[in-house]
């Protein structure tokens, strides 16, 4: 059963069209991440699902029930806010039980639910404190506790980790994921952080300019980005994209970067049948930085030895875990991720291995994925 169905949803503020015909179906138990740059409409979409804002057109269905005209409190949802939105004058205990108080849940039942959630989140010692006496991570937990105690059909998270420092963010990220695996809740999670999206989601909806660009599981999003926006948005460093020409040689497609230049790069493709349609045409080639490595690297389970090319190095960025290299492929700039102990000299040529199994080809006009 679909826990959440969004049909033809649009939202307009005066002249500004924030959401343009969103369709999404989210299954029960899924961890869906809405990800996109600021202003893409993801938070507005979440607000509309929560019932805090009204859509201009379209329907929202939660648990098989159209909720367009149902107020937030009756939608069977719970929400965690970026600012946590804990009630400042209430203790942690009161914060968590306020919803049940509003719903006139009897006392013993309230206490039981509170105890349950407090144990799950390990916040028992904090119950009598006020939010001002809590650290950022503790506030985050309490905010989640307030949502969990509702046991709703749908959890909505609005950038819940953005106010935490980097270390805590990674910890809480894992904790939320663990929590999802443990209680099997249906979660819609908004973030602008593509790493959060990749690590937590069972499915990702990449949004841009009020539209869902792609809605798929993280591997598909990463491996087969539906268009150039998704390709460049997901991944850090982002996918290298560059103009290239598609030709057919010996009955197979070959993509040529910097065609006609003395340093042109020719990459033979296998398994890219859709590419034949672009024979002798311009395409946009996408290649992830981790598909360019030091010579001698074997890529995963690739059967053949990878193609090795000589390319000029412009700059290197050692990060500790790897060395990020800015190089030129047929004159086009590209980033490579190579082994941390290899430091090619800027300005010189160095050998690089290319993993051609995971290239992406895009139509230069529509920017859509070809293959």
């Amino acid at each position: 059963m679909a826990a959440l169905s969004i049909r033809g949803l649009s939202k307009r503020f005066a002249r500004l069209e924030v959401l343009k015909g969103i369709d999404l179906d989210i299954e029960s138990g899924e961890f869906t991440v809405l990800v996109g740059p600021s202003g893409c409409g993801k938070s507005t979409l979440l607000s509309i699902v929560a019932g805090l804002e009204r859509p201009t057109a379209g329907t929202i269905e939660i648990g098989g029930r159209i909720v367009n005209d149902i107020p937030p409190k009756d939608r069977d949802i719970a929400m965690v806010f970026q600012s946590y939105a804990l009630y400042p004058s209430m203790t942690v205990r009161q914060n968590i039980t306020f919803g049940m108080e509003c719903r006139h849940v009897p006392g013993p039942q309230r206490e039981a639910a509170l105890a349950n959630v407090a144990r799950l989140l390990q916040i028992e010692p904090l119950l009598n404190r006020r939010p001002s006496q809590l650290s950022g991570g503790q506030r985050q937990r309490v905010a989640m506790g307030r949502a969990l105690v509702r046991d709703p059909l749908l959890f909505l998270f609005d950038e819940p980790l953005s106010n935490l420092d980097a270390k805590l963010r990674v910890e809480m990220r894992m904790e939320i994921k663990r929590l999802h695996q443990r209680i099997g809740a249906t979660i819609v999670y908004v973030t602008h952080d593509q790493i959060e999206a990749m690590t937590m989601a069972t499915r990702i909806a990449v949004m841009h300019k009020g539209e869902v660009q792609q809605f798929a599981d993280p591997d598909t999003i990463y491996r087969y980005p539906a268009n150039l926006f998704v390709a460049r948005f997901m991944g850090s460093p982002p996918m290298n994209t560059m103009p290239a020409r598609l030709v057919v040689e010996d009955g197979g497609p070959v993509v040529v970067i910097g065609a006609g230049r003395p340093d042109e790069v020719r990459l033979r493709l296998s398994g890219y049948d859709a590419a034949f349609a672009y024979r002798d045409r311009e395409v946009v080639l996408g290649i992830r930085p981790e598909c360019i490595a030091e010579a001698g690297r074997a890529f995963g389970d690739a059967a053949d030895a990878p193609i090795v090319i000589q390319a000029p190095v412009e700059m290197i960025e050692p990060t500790g875990a790897e060395t990020v290299v800015l190089l030129r492929l047929g004159g086009e700039p590209a980033l490579a991720r190579i082994s941390p102990d290899i430091r090619p000299a800027p300005g010189a040529l160095a050998p690089f291995a290319l993993d051609t199994r995971r290239l992406c080809l895009f139509d230069p006009a529509t920017e859509r994925l070809i293959a």
């Binding site: 607000s47 107020p71 806010f81 970026q82 009630y87 400042p88 004058s89 919803g99």
Partner: protein, 280 residues
């Protein structure tokens, strides 16, 4: 450096003393007998310290044909100022809350109209109030003055509270709505507990303003119904015929005491409340 500082301080102290002279004269005279003042001068040290003036002023002194001192008028002022302060503050808080934290059609317009009340001179409103009080049969009653001050006070209290409440994060409101709290529950359980800083400001402001208000008091009440500020007018009438500086000084001081106390005990909160920002 040192000299310039000294000069500045000396000048400031001298000016401060100058401003305090009238108060000083009244305080000193309240401790002298009227006979002594009449025999010597209005300005002078008490030859013989006496507190009898206060007792006289409180419930024996004769003003406007009654010899019951200012006690009944003080009580009138309290029964006027206390309910009007509480009512106008609570209503202003409620109005400020709905304007600041809820969107409804015409909210900005209503806010503009309410705050316009601050800028309307009192004299302008006399005639409309005459009509209202007459039609409600509240002429010459304390209740009528309570009504006037509650309604008029709301301009200020709404403005103060609204400006304070806009600092409350919208996420709190959203969280409360999802939790299932309605308009009044959010007000009582979430917004009001965050309000003491601004409520102290409005209470001080309203109480002082209503206590000291004079025009409506003399216009709409007479005789035993008058608040103390209006009743004191009889004092100045008496001064020209038969000066009783001792008792009169004491009466003025008693009448000023509540607002002075409010200032002394609440002034601190008033200043900190005015600058208090949003609630994190």
């Amino acid at each position: 450096m040192k000299w310039s500082r000294l000069i500045i301080h000396a000048a400031l102290i001298a000016l401060a003393l100058l401003f305090l002279v009238p108060l000083g004269v009244v305080v000193v005279n309240s401790l002298r007998s009227s006979q002594e003042i009449a025999a010597t001068s209005m300005i002078g040290w008490p030859g013989h310290l006496t507190f009898a003036n206060y007792g006289q002023a409180w419930n024996h002194f004769c003003m406007a044909e009654h010899c019951w001192g200012i006690e009944p008028y003080m009580l009138n002022s309290f029964t006027l100022a206390v309910p009007a302060t509480i009512l106008s503050t609570l209503l202003g808080a409620l109005a400020g809350y709905s304007i600041a934290l809820w969107r409804f059609r015409g909210d900005q317009m209503i806010f503009a109209l309410v705050t316009l009340g601050i800028f309307l001179p009192e004299q302008m409103k006399l005639i409309p109030w005459v009509v209202v009080l007459r039609d409600l049969s509240l002429m010459n009653t304390i209740a009528g003055l309570v009504l006037i001050h509650t309604v008029q006070g709301m301009s200020f209290t709404t403005l103060f509270c609204r400006n304070y409440y806009v600092g409350i994060p919208q996420d709190l409101m959203k969280a409360a709505r999802i939790d299932g709290a309605g308009f009044f529950r959010i007000f009582w359980r979430i917004v009001l507990p965050l309000s003491p800083p601004i409520l102290i400001v409005t209470v001080i402001f309203q109480f002082t303003g209503i206590w000291n208000e004079f025009l409506f008091g003399v216009t709409f009440t007479s005789g035993g119904q008058q608040p103390v500020t209006a009743a004191l007018i009889a004092l100045s009438a008496a001064i020209t015929s038969e000066p009783m500086y001792g008792e009169q000084s004491a009466a003025v001081l008693i009448a000023a005491l509540p607002t002075l106390l409010v200032y002394l005990f609440g002034g601190r909160y008033f200043l900190s409340g005015l600058t208090a920002g949003a609630v994190k």
